[in-house]
């Protein structure tokens, strides 16, 4: 299914999820735009944390990578990688993690490792990076995904890189593992709509559709029998000011707005 909405739409919807949050673990791409927009609109006090060890970033220019110079210069703190993954993530200090994925399943497990077989994959993806650590430790995770089709949202992942609480609970029950503190994916923002989970161990369900999208088309575009929330709504589109900020102040070179 073709993309119904542009990156400005996705970034704005993502930014609104950050209302009232304290600390966000931000990635590069649409999350870069979303956290910047949130700071300029609904949440100026939001603390931006990057896996490179930057806490409280105040970039003067848009970052092209999570370890960019512009994130460091003028930041409130830069700590080592062990402290970032140990104390900040492991210590439970991250409210919201932003993750992308090549595949996501109904409980919010993510695949960022391979399409096909791990030993000789059809597509070698970037791998876990910090995603599995973010999933295990954040109070909630937001996934922004640029495709919504049964390949990206399949019934079964080709590989589970970052386990949902449901999968973690299965391992806990089967092998006695402690359940990670992370509460898993709360929200998935796709080109067609927004999926949410009512609670930590529930399935994702369609919470809103973007303007002009038929809910039945969303169900058909999903690789598992997607539930539709009883109180399904229409996603509120970006305002003119959101779009202006994104295009004229945040991503002036259209690096992520493509």
């Amino acid at each position: 299914m073709s993309t119904k909405v542009g990156p400005e739409f996705l970034a704005t919807v993502a930014s609104r999820e950050l209302a009232g949050e304290h600390r966000v673990f931000a990635g590069i791409g649409l999350p870069t735009l979303a956290v910047d927009l949130a700071k300029r609109t609904i949440n100026p006090d939001l603390e931006l944390i990057y896996e490179s060890g930057v806490c409280g970033a105040h970039p003067e220019t848009m970052a092209e990578g999570i370890a960019d110079f512009t994130l460091v210069s003028g930041a409130e703190s830069v700590i080592g990688i062990p402290a970032l993954f140990g104390a900040v993530l492991g210590g439970g200090y991250v409210d919201v993690g932003f993750l992308g994925a090549a595949q996501i399943d109904r409980y919010g497990s993510l695949n960022t490792t391979v399409i096909g077989d791990w030993a000789k994959p059809r597509v070698r993806l970037p791998g876990a990076g910090g995603a599995a650590d973010v999933m295990a430790n954040s109070r909630r995770v937001i996934v922004v995904i640029r495709r919504h089709d049964p390949d990206a949202m399949p019934a079964e992942l080709d590989f589970c890189t970052s386990a949902s609480p449901v999968r973690a609970r299965e391992a806990a029950e089967r092998e006695g593992f402690a359940l990670p503190q992370g509460a898993g994916v709360s929200t998935v923002i796709t080109p067609l709509g927004v999926l949410r989970r009512p609670d930590r161990f529930a399935e994702l369900e369609l919470a809103s559709v973007h303007p002009g999208v038929d809910p039945d088309d969303v169900v058909r575009a999903t690789g598992w029998p997607l539930r539709v929330a009883a109180d399904l709504t229409e996603t509120t589109p970006p305002t003119d000011e959101d779009v202006r900020l994104l295009r004229e102040e945040i991503d002036t070179v259209r690096l992520y707005l493509r």
């Binding site: 409130e76 492991g90 210590g91 439970g92």
Partner: protein, 323 residues
């Protein structure tokens, strides 16, 4: 099936500056486990004296090196339990209140939990990072296992044999002193930084007293110096000279004369109580303590400057740089 709960810090407002009495009243409760840390440097004496003035009871006091701050808190009857890895003062010799309580149960017993420095460091690291335990090198073959049931062991799953492990420390309140912070609670410290970053993260609440509150621009000009980011801090309190008689690198020296006097003060319990009456209960706050100490005493611990070589973080030129 159990859940790992490092536990998120308790929420704190964005501007975290408080007065010391209000911070202690709000965040230190009877029966709490408190970690007023600082390894011979930046020991938070002003905060401890405020705890004594407010009459807290039943505390568990966790400190690697108890130092005079432990002798004082224990003599003031704030503490039921001491968790530590050293039971003397490096500079003052014996801590006689601690010894009286342990050797003679005078005036009553003190519960003690005993570790090594390396084990305590690992315990704070575990507490900071939500690790359920961490392996340590020390203890094998010693009697420490016999007196401490919380020192345990696991089998190395890589075939290296059995390994000693320690559990996390998760204090109710960590209390620190540092050179400077901004109002958001980004704390910068230098000199001996000890276990402070780990203790700050491990605390469910963390109070940091500082020599100076500085503008955010100062902190943000040198983000690598922010060893304790604001998200790990609950309250930041301006308390100049708040570490005396210990010291603050670049601000004032340790009052070694006082440390030497302490042995005689603490050896005699009535003299120790009189000292608390005069220097803790008898002053309304740290400013009054500083004033009572007098200019001559402060002159004896003053420092000449020794500035750090400059470093530059760089800024993108206005007219571009990399495309």
């Amino acid at each position: 099936m159990t859940t790992q709960t490092a536990g998120p810090p308790e929420a704190a407002p964005r501007d975290k500056v408080m007065e010391l009495d209000a911070a202690i009243a709000a965040h230190v409760h009877d029966g709490d486990t408190i970690c007023p840390e600082g390894f011979g440097h930046l020991i938070p004496f002003a905060a401890a004296h405020e705890i004594i003035r407010q009459g807290r009871r039943g505390l568990t006091l966790v400190r690697m090196t108890p130092d005079l701050i432990a002798d004082q808190l224990i003599a003031a009857d704030c503490v039921d339990r001491l968790v530590a890895s050293f039971f003397a003062s490096g500079s003052a010799g014996s801590l006689h209140e601690v010894r009286r309580r342990i050797q003679h149960h005078d005036p009553r017993p003190l519960e003690v939990e005993e570790w090594t420095h390396g084990q305590m460091a690992a315990r704070y690291s575990a507490g900071a990072t939500g690790a359920p335990f961490l392996p340590v090198h020390s203890g094998v073959g010693s009697d420490l296992f016999e007196v401490n049931p919380m020192l345990r062991s696991v089998e190395d799953p890589y075939g290296g044999g059995r390994v000693a492990v320690v559990p996390p420390i998760r204090p109710d309140v960590t209390i620190l002193h540092a050179q400077r912070a901004d109002r958001l609670g980004n704390v910068q410290l230098w000199g001996i930084t000890g276990i402070q970053p780990e203790a700050a993260y491990a605390g469910r609440r963390t109070i940091v007293t500082v020599e100076e509150i500085v503008e955010p621009e100062v902190v943000r000009s040198d983000p690598n110096r922010t060893l304790i980011p604001a998200h790990a801090v609950t309250a930041v309190v301006p308390v100049p000279r708040g570490a005396h008689p210990s010291y603050v690198q670049g601000y004032y020296q340790r009052d070694n004369a006082f440390y030497r006097e302490w042995e005689a003060i603490s050896k005699d319990r009535s003299r120790l109580l009189a000292w608390l009456d005069e220097w803790v209960h008898g002053v309304v706050d740290r400013a009054a303590y500083v004033q009572r100490l007098g200019e001559e005493r402060w002159a004896s611990v003053r420092l000449d400057p020794r500035p750090a070589a400059p470093v530059d973080y760089g800024r993108t030129p206005r007219n571009g740089g990399a495309a």
